[in-house]
C-alpha cells in the first residue's frame, strides 16, 4: 500500500534562517506531488506541484522553492524565512489528475 511521510512535524525557526521540509512517498511510481500551506483564514494554498523529477510548477512566487531530486521525494526550501512563512505545511500526492489526493501528516512551522 502507498504511504506518505513528511518531516519534521514541528519546527521553530528564527527569521532569516533557512528551511527544509521533506516528503517521501512509498508504494507508487511517478506520483504527482504537491506542497500546500494552511494559514489561518486562508484555507489550503497551493505552493508547488510536480509531475516528474525536476519538473516543478510554482503557484506562489515567494521566498520558497521546491525540488524533486528523486521520483518520490519532494523538498520545500527557503534560504531566508520570513515571519509570514509561519503556518501548517502539507505534502500530498496523487496518481494522476482527477484521482484522490493523499496528504501527509503535516509540518507546523513557526518563524520567530
Amino acid at each position: 500500500s502507498q504511504t506518505i511521510h513528511q518531516w519534521p512535524a514541528t519546527l521553530v525557526q528564527p527569521v532569516g534562517s533557512p528551511l527544509s521540509l521533506e516528503c517521501t512517498v512509498e508504494g507508487t511510481s511517478n506520483p504527482n506531488l504537491y506542497w500546500y500551506r494552511q494559514a489561518a483564514g486562508r484555507g489550503l494554498q497551493l505552493l508547488f506541484y510536480s509531475v516528474g523529477i525536476g519538473q516543478i510548477s510554482s503557484e506562489v512566487p515567494q521566498n520558497l522553492s521546491a525540488s524533486r531530486p528523486q521520483d518520490r521525494q519532494f523538498i520545500l526550501s527557503s534560504k531566508k524565512l520570513l515571519l509570514s512563512d509561519s503556518g501548517f505545511y502539507l505534502c500530498a500526492w496523487s496518481v494522476m489528475s482527477g484521482d484522490t489526493i493523499y496528504f501527509g501528516e503535516g509540518s507546523w512551522l513557526t518563524v520567530v
Binding site: 504527482n32 484555507g43 489550503l44 489528475s97 496528504f103
Partner: protein, 114 residues
C-alpha cells in the same frame, strides 16, 4: 484562473440533523473533478467524496451526498444524521483534468451540537 469559494466560514448543526455546506467554483473548462475533504482536529486530511464533472448523477457516500449543479458551478455537500465525529473543517477542491493543479477553498468549520 480557477477559483473555489466556500462562503460559510463556520456552521453549526444539531446532532442527528442534516446540514449543507456550500461550494462554488469558477472555470471555463468542462472536464474536471470536484472533491470534499474533511480535516478533523488531528489535521489529517480525509477524502469525503469525489465527483466527476461529466457524470450527471450526484455522488453519495453513506451519510454524505453532493448536489452538483454544473451550469451553476455549484457543488454543495449534504451531511445527513450528523454525528459528533463529523465536527471538522471541510474543504471543497477543484481539479481540472488538463493540468495537475488541485485548488482548494478556504474551508468551512462545522460544529456539531450535542
Amino acid at each position: 484562473a480557477q477559483t473555489v469559494t466556500q462562503s460559510q466560514p463556520e456552521m453549526s448543526v444539531q446532532e442527528a440533523e442534516t446540514v449543507t455546506l456550500s461550494c462554488t467554483y469558477d472555470t471555463s473548462e468542462s472536464d474536471y473533478y470536484l472533491f470534499w475533504y474533511k480535516q478533523p482536529p488531528s489535521r489529517q486530511m480525509i477524502l469525503v467524496i469525489r465527483q466527476e464533472a461529466y457524470k450527471q448523477q450526484n455522488a453519495t457516500e453513506n451519510r454524505f451526498s453532493v448536489n452538483f449543479q454544473k451550469a451553476a458551478k455549484s457543488f454543495s455537500l449534504k451531511i445527513s444524521d450528523s454525528q459528533l465525529g463529523d465536527a471538522a473543517m471541510y474543504f471543497c477542491a477543484f481539479d481540472m483534468n488538463r493540468d495537475d493543479k488541485i485548488i482548494f477553498g478556504k474551508g468551512t468549520r462545522l460544529h456539531i451540537l450535542p
